[in-house]
């Protein structure tokens, strides 16, 4: 396209920069990173438009912005994953040419991608070594890598079993592997793209501790997140992007959540859900002594009992991997149960009387799956087709033989309008929508037809605050209209502000229950770690 990056460097300076001299001092020192006038297009989409940004050495710098604002693209350019159409990158004051990840690594840049770049079938050690094996034969490099991992573990408190299969690790640990990968390659600049989206509060706190200790070691950190609380908690400076452009830079100490939110979205945002107290009606969902065993024979849910009544939101809090996902899938009819009983209205599910997702849906259940990529949508389909997934049999979309595609499109357009999905284009492929908009589309589908029971997993994962606000308002409205809602989220903020009652689970068992107004982060955190209320009191 155009002449890459690094107009200033005549000969593509690939040498590793000299060690950073000034460590985490004031603004007067040479900045670790300068991005100057970066532009990048993807076909018709202008992902980055003349973006400039400066990050001081040894600082933790935040970047915020709506979905699709261009944050990931900008960082991918810095990491050499994409090449910018124009613009210049300077590292430690020197212009550098970064054409690919190898260049970036040589410049001391490391990145933890939004979607992890790990090989699930490899061990931690192999993942860390990949691309930096050291020698032709693995055996040699392996010993060296093991020693280096031990050192990193000591220095930064990054503990992972080097021989564990990455695919078996919880996301929190996977992310740690990503950080280890970067550090193993000697990164002095670490980029983290939405690292906390999949973490529990405790894991997030651990991550921030690690980031701070990295900072103490002189590493420069760039952090992308949608959670303004985190920006305020950990960063030194923050930049705001909107629609591919950089709109503001602030020292964190001089800004507020409200200001950042407004800068991001371009309007005032309600950060707090306001809702009236619940008026629960009759139980819609009753779960009794439920047991679920997964394909590997591991008991995932072990004797769980609870009810959800019409007109209330029950939040299920737990560290991810404690049976919530399996529970949701079982309730939705996707997973068979091994013991106990589920009753949804008139529908009764027991091990001897299994069910399927169709029947469950027909019984008036909406299900927003935790992972929209894996289940919620069919990415290669046009949005309108994803918007009828699970309802494609309905008479509304079908004639005697053929489907009524006019109805399908009209319906999707209506949903898009109602849920403010942008762009309002039922014909567009699902994968072309941003995460937040995909989520809204799934929600629109599942809220359609006023379900009696709504099963919701991680409704706002990776979604920007504008969309979060919208989604939360919709859920409360559903509740007020009399729906029973079961909300599973690793986001304690979300659970506390949305739910009327909160159940804490650990290891597939119920640890305790709290009314939302009595819940606080500490209590819930402890309960999620299997400390019962009684134990806390004593």
């Amino acid at each position: 396209m155009t002449d890459g990056i690094g107009a200033g460097s005549a000969s593509g300076d690939r040498a590793r920069p000299a060690p950073v001299v000034s460590r985490g001092t004031g603004m007067d020192a040479v900045p670790a990173i300068e991005l100057i006038g970066i532009s990048k297009r993807f076909g018709p989409v202008h992902a980055n438009r003349d973006v400039s940004m400066t990050v001081a050495a040894g600082a933790i710098h935040g970047i915020v912005g709506e979905n699709g604002a261009g944050k990931s693209t900008l960082m991918s350019i810095l990491y050499g994953f994409y090449e910018a159409d124009s613009g210049e990158i300077r590292i430690d004051g020197k212009p550098v040419a970064i054409h690919d990840a190898a260049d970036a690594i040589a410049c001391g840049v490391g990145m933890v991608h939004q979607h992890f770049m790990l090989v699930p079938t490899f061990t931690v050690l192999e993942n860390v070594m990949l691309g930096a094996e050291g020698a032709m034969l693995l055996a040699k490099g392996r010993t060296a890598a093991r020693a280096e991992l031990e050192r990193l573990e000591r220095d930064y408190g990054l503990k992972v079993d080097p021989d564990a299969l990455v695919g078996d690790l919880p996301v929190g640990l996977q992310q740690r592997v990503e950080i280890l990968k970067a550090l193993y390659r000697g990164a002095r600049i670490l980029i983290l793209d939405e690292p906390t989206g999949v973490l529990t509060p405790q894991e997030t706190d651990r991550l921030f501790e690690i980031l701070r200790s990295l900072k103490d070691e002189g590493v420069t950190v760039i952090l992308i997140t949608h959670k303004l609380r985190e920006i305020l908690a950990v960063t030194d400076t923050v930049s705001v992007m909107r629609r591919g452009e950089m709109v503001a830079h602030r020292p964190t100490a001089e800004t507020s959540r409200e200001e950042l939110a407004e800068l991001m979205v371009g309007r005032k945002v309600l950060l707090q859900v306001d809702k009236a107290p619940a008026t629960p009606g009759t139980p819609v969902l009753e779960v009794e002594d439920l047991r679920i065993i997964d394909a590997d024979g591991i008991t995932r849910v072990d004797g769980l009992s609870f009810t959800v009544a019409a007109g209330e939101i029950v939040g299920l809090a737990g560290v991810s991997g404690n049976g919530q996902s399996e529970l949701l899938e079982a309730l939705a009819g996707i997973r068979p149960i091994a013991g106990g009983r589920i009753r949804i209205g008139d529908l009764e599910i027991t091990p001897g009387r299994p069910t399927d997702p169709r029947t469950v849906r027909a019984a008036g259940v909406g299900h927003v799956p935790e992972d929209r990529h894996r289940m919620g949508m069919v990415m290669p389909f046009e949005a309108a087709e994803s918007a009828i997934l699970g309802r494609h049999d309905s008479a509304a979309y079908n004639g005697r033989w053929l489907m009524d595609y006019d109805a399908v499109h009209a319906n999707c357009a209506a949903k898009m309008k109602a849920f403010d999905v942008r762009p309002t284009e039922p014909h567009l492929r699902g994968s072309l929508f941003s995460g937040g908009n995909q989520q809204k589309l799934v929600l629109a589908r599942e809220l359609d037809g006023a379900p009696k029971l709504l099963l919701i997993g991680q409704p706002t994962r990776g979604v920007d605050i504008g969309a979060i606000e919208f989604i939360h308002r919709q859920l409360v409205a559903m509740r007020d209209a009399g729906a029973a809602i079961l909300l599973v989220s690793v986001e304690l903020d979300e659970i506390m502000s949305l739910a009327d009652r909160i159940l804490a689970v650990c290891g597939g068992r119920l640890v305790g229950e709290l009314p939302a107004d009595q819940a606080d982060e500490r209590t819930l955190g402890l309960m999620m770690a299997n400390v019962t209320l009684e134990e806390m009191r004593s």
Partner: protein, 324 residues
Amino acid sequence: MTDTWLLAVLTLDATIRVAAPLILAAMAGLFSERSGIVDIGLEGKMLAGAFAAAATAAVTGSAWLGLAVAIAVSSSLALLHGLACITYRGNQVVSGVAINVLVAGLTVVLGIAWFDQGGQTPPLSQAARFAPIKLPFADALHDIPWLGDLYHELISGHNLLVYVALAAVPATWWVVYRTRFGLRLRAVGETPAAVDTAGVSVELLRYRAVLITGMLCGIAGAYLSIGQSAGFVRDMTAGKGYIALAALIFGKWRPVPALLACLLFGFLDAVATRLQGIELPGIGQAPVALIQALPYALTVILLAGFIGKAVAPKAIGVPYVKER
């Protein structure tokens, strides 16, 4: 008793002869597919190798030159496949089919143009082929009961390329699981983005993988035309590339299970050959077609009964595109 033993040994001997090209081709396919490139074109590359080997050997009288040219020709086809699938991100199955069809025609057209024998190459003299190698002491040890036969018939007396095929398996295993290249190869077939972000070129890695595929296919082809037979005839691979691919999938894209699958195919074939026309107890003489169908039917049954779901390398068949 010893007759039965000898027959058993000879059946295994046949198994190895039949399996050798399958093994080479399966190992070839393993490199390509582990790197994420589907290779339906094993058949075509093998056929091209067979033709190149026989044609060269016929002209020069040298088996070694034949082998070298077979490897070169098959490798260039592999690079063509790479060009289509890696550089131009074409459909990998189509590219493989194209190579198969192209080679099926081209070998005959060139064969007619050069040798004027209907696409066959002239029959090769002993010197222009890889002759059976008698391993040391094969005769001396022949008289030892049981083991003598085993050594003399089964282990000794194959042509060089059979031993190459057998050696290719541990070599493949070692490369794939013990070397840097192997680590990257396995990674690029699962998660190319991980390799890319680790600063390693996905394209280069895949090119190297398909090149190895080409080389091994070339050896497999040479085995057919200047090892096992003495010349090239049209379509002489007769579906072996597909069977090798099946063995690779059967073996879940791992060297040793793939080897076992190839041996199984070879064994079923050897046994079926020996069952033709034999009176089976209770059934009488089974229809020829039934016996001929046996290896295929058994494969289906084994596949359904014993082998779990074969999980392919995740990124297989998908061109790697950064800008999705």
